[in-house]
Symmetry: C2
Subunit: 245 residues, 2 copies
DNA sequence: CGCAGGGCATAACCTATGTAAGCGCGGACT
DNA sequence: AGTCCGCGCTTACATAGGTTATGCCCTGCG
């Protein structure tokens, strides 16, 4: 938002929540990113089948990874917020097996894969931290699998809200149980594997139970304990713990 | 199985299906593993909450990562076969947020995290290959999310069979559309997010459509094209492509 | 040899969630 | 200023998949 805030601010916040970075490492991060660029909401950042020569950092805005099926159904497999590397995995996987789309207007910057390759030779700790980021993505994938497979829709929706609140807190975009979440009910259905009708039912139930309010893009968690309890939310899987890595 | 086959054979097969390894890298792999050890089926290899000081390679047998919910429900988030590093991610994540269990009798060997740390300093390419392994795990997680969220149970079961066949082929444990899969219907339900009753229905349907036979632990794919079509199976997400990484 | 337990199969019934359709509001464009 | 269209919301109805229960066939074991 602020022009004085460096594009890597949220990324650095996300990383330093897990381990200390040296001043040099922070400089390397700042030095490796391209000039920021804007992507309009609804547009793709990377497309299924692409072989990008760089990876993309989300500076601000909301983006998602998704897969589209033949019948038109869409599954969102990850939601990305400021400070997330939306396709860091393409550095090693080479070919995208899914797309990444901007849900809102997004500001992004890129790092060339060649630069990342260099870093794996010169900065082992930074390399491990990048690896860590992709592992936390995997951890969230697993938690979503548990939710879709074994949690009822209501609990899973509650879980999603707990997760997003926690993740936004790490990058300073949520506090006092309130945050902005620019997701339509259709999009939330694509996240949770539900129809939009059922998303609506579930949200009504969370509202009538006075667990949350959600008006427009403003979400307020009225009763964190009850919400987390309903969700069986255990934040350990987000690994927001600072320790040597 | 064969005492002359080194414990890393399947791992090397899995890696070299994605990129060439130097003789020195293969030697490092072989040198880093502990003596093999046996784990009985049904026992845990790593437990939720553990902070293991090493990562575990599955030499042979079948294992799974799983999460258990309060109501007793279990979701299997990954199925592991010979050559898989079942908890390589614990090297960076430090604390396990889920368990890893042996589904059958398993032979395993471990690498100390200290040794892995060294490798990130001395062997960047090998480090990237380890990173790649965890990224492919993430890729499978995403595909399972798509299946659970948006594919009907029949298609998702078909998809699972296609995936396992492909993965077993890479390590030489499947050929001619046939393989051994020691999973009970309850366990398959925990993979697919279904009840065992529905798993049974779905298997009956795959059988009556003459897509597969599944007797005891022996699975035969009778009509790969029809099965893959039903599953909308696109193997790109497994990244079985050899290229410089 | 007989019994217990696990795994598969099947039936009857139930419910969470999906589908189809329509309404109203508010913002964005002409 | 009027018109559209996307989004939220609701209703009526349909169905995929869950639950409970039961039987049968193995295999392992006392």
């Amino acid at each position: 938002m602020n022009a004085n805030v460096p594009p890597t601010a949220a990324l650095v916040a996300k990383l330093t929540a897990r381990d200390d970075l040296s001043a040099e490492e922070i400089a390397v991060l700042q030095g490796m990113m391209s000039e920021p660029r804007i992507v309009q909401g609804g547009h793709d950042i990377v497309r299924d089948g692409d072989r990008p020569g760089h990876s993309t950092l989300l500076i601000d805005g909301f983006a998602c990874r998704y897969t589209t099926l033949k019948d038109g159904g869409r599954q969102i497999t990850a939601l990305h917020v400021a400070g997330d590397f939306v396709d860091l995995h393409s550095f090693m996987l080479k070919e995208m097996d899914h797309g990444v789309g901007a849900l809102t207007l997004c500001r992004i910057a890129t790092v060339d894969h060649g630069r990342l390759l260099e870093i794996t030779h010169t900065h082992p700790h930074l390399t491990r931290m990048f690896w860590l980021l992709t592992l936390i993505d995997g951890s969230m994938h697993r938690e979503w699998l548990v939710g879709m497979g074994r949690r009822p829709a209501l609990g899973n929706a509650a879980h999603f809200i707990c997760e997003i609140y926690t993740r936004l807190s790490v990058v300073g975009m949520a506090a006092d149980n309130a945050f902005v979440l620019p997701l339509t009910q259709v999009e939330l259905g694509d996240v949770l594997g539900l129809s939009s009708v059922h998303v609506n039912r579930v949200l009504q139930e969370l509202r009538s139970g006075e667990l949350i309010t959600w008006t427009g893009q403003n979400v307020v968690i009225l009763d964190w304990d009850a919400l987390a309890d309903l969700a069986e939310f255990d934040p350990r899987y987000l690994h927001v713990v600072k320790e040597p890595r």
